[in-house]
């Protein structure tokens, strides 16, 4: 597999988790100073910082598993677009507030279900990161699910717009549950999560919230995205060029 770049499945598995956190943190960071209210601005910034903190722990862990002496910064700032293994869901642009919160909700519900299982992973470092991150992600889900309900069950315009957000984002959720060879190998090794069970839990959470929000679950479509294989859409490149510009101009820069 080209995206693996000679890494072990274990390393790739952790890197995928790290990259999804990192890219979403960067996306949410773009909203700082631009959210519709000061309180939401801080709420989203808090979420971004939590995800960045999780990404740092996971990148450091992936760097150790890789065994080439690369730090979290090396992995975050010195890889090319095709080497990023985040789900394409998180690289989607912020759009309007409904797009941002719908993306967040679909992600948070997945992450909570995933971390609940990874907290019992046979990789003790991954288990410890998941157990710590789970508390943060449960709050994120509370926040984003609440907003999906408010927008869905709000005005006619907010309902229509957040429903359209869900339709746009839905095809990007497929890869979260579509187990490939690496997912299966990690599950068999007692390290990874069972994505069938993650999907069932996610589905329940999503259906409950959408019902409360008077929103319809979008139909599954044949189009599939596989960011976790390094196949990305048009948006990731620009996000990375902004995220990596400082480090590339001033290698090793520190605060």
């Amino acid at each position: 597999m080209s995206a693996a770049h000679g890494r072990t499945s274990h390393c790739v598995y952790v890197l995928r988790l790290a990259d999804s956190n990192l890219v979403l943190a960067q996306r949410l960071g773009e909203l700082i100073g631009h959210a519709p209210a000061l309180e939401e601005d801080l709420g989203l910034a808090n979420t971004a910082l939590d995800l960045l903190g999780q990404a740092r722990l996971l990148l450091t862990h992936a760097g150790k598993l890789e065994g080439r002496g690369r730090s979290e910064d090396d992995l975050a700032f010195l890889r090319e677009e095709g080497e990023f293994l985040n789900a394409t869901l998180v690289e989607q642009p912020n759009g309007d507030f409904g797009d941002t919160l719908a993306r967040q909700f679909l992600f948070d519900a997945w992450q909570v279900e995933l971390y609940e299982r990874l907290a019992a992973s046979g990789d003790p470092q991954l288990a410890a990161i998941a157990a710590k991150a789970l508390k943060e992600s449960r709050y994120h889900l509370r926040f984003s699910a609440n907003w999906v309900v408010r927008l869905g069950d709000g005005t006619a315009e907010s309902h229509e717009r957040v429903q359209a957000s869900l339709e746009r984002l839905w095809p990007h959720t497929v890869e979260l549950f579509d187990a490939d060879a690496i997912d299966r190998e990690m599950l068999a090794a007692g390290i990874g999560a069972d994505l069938t069970a993650v999907r069932a839990g996610w589905q329940r959470r999503v259906d409950d919230t959408l019902a409360e929000a008077t929103l319809a679950r979008p139909a599954d479509r044949p189009w599939r995205w596989y960011g976790k294989r390094g196949q990305h859409g048009e948006h990731l490149g620009r996000l990375l060029s902004q995220m990596q510009a400082l480090h590339r101009a001033h290698p090793g820069a520190r605060w």
Partner: protein
């Protein structure tokens, strides 16, 4: 379009740790109690300021009138004998 300025104001009270009283720390805008709780958490407990939050609609608070301050508070000023200053406070009592 509705903006946060049209959202009702809530007062936020935080308990810094067990054994202490909730203290007023500021206010936030929110459309209802649930959102007020989340906003209070996100705005006022980012640096481990607390273990418990109360939020109260600002309009529910009845405040004394500054114009009546003299009538309210002046009479207590010359009655120092009401202060319980003759007790020794045990060392074990930290938060009196």
């Amino acid at each position: 379009m509705t903006t946060s300025r049209d959202w009702p104001l809530y007062e936020v009270f935080i308990r810094a740790r067990g054994g202490l009283d909730h203290k007023h720390v500021g206010s936030i805008h929110a459309v209802d109690a649930r959102m007020a709780m989340e906003h209070a958490r996100d705005v006022y407990t980012r640096r481990q300021e607390g273990v418990s939050i109360w939020v109260v609609r600002s309009s529910e608070i009845v405040a004394s009138d500054p114009a009546e301050a003299d009538a309210f508070f002046e009479p207590a000023r010359d009655k120092v004998y009401r202060h319980p200053t003759f007790y020794d406070i045990p060392d074990e009592v930290k938060t009196l």
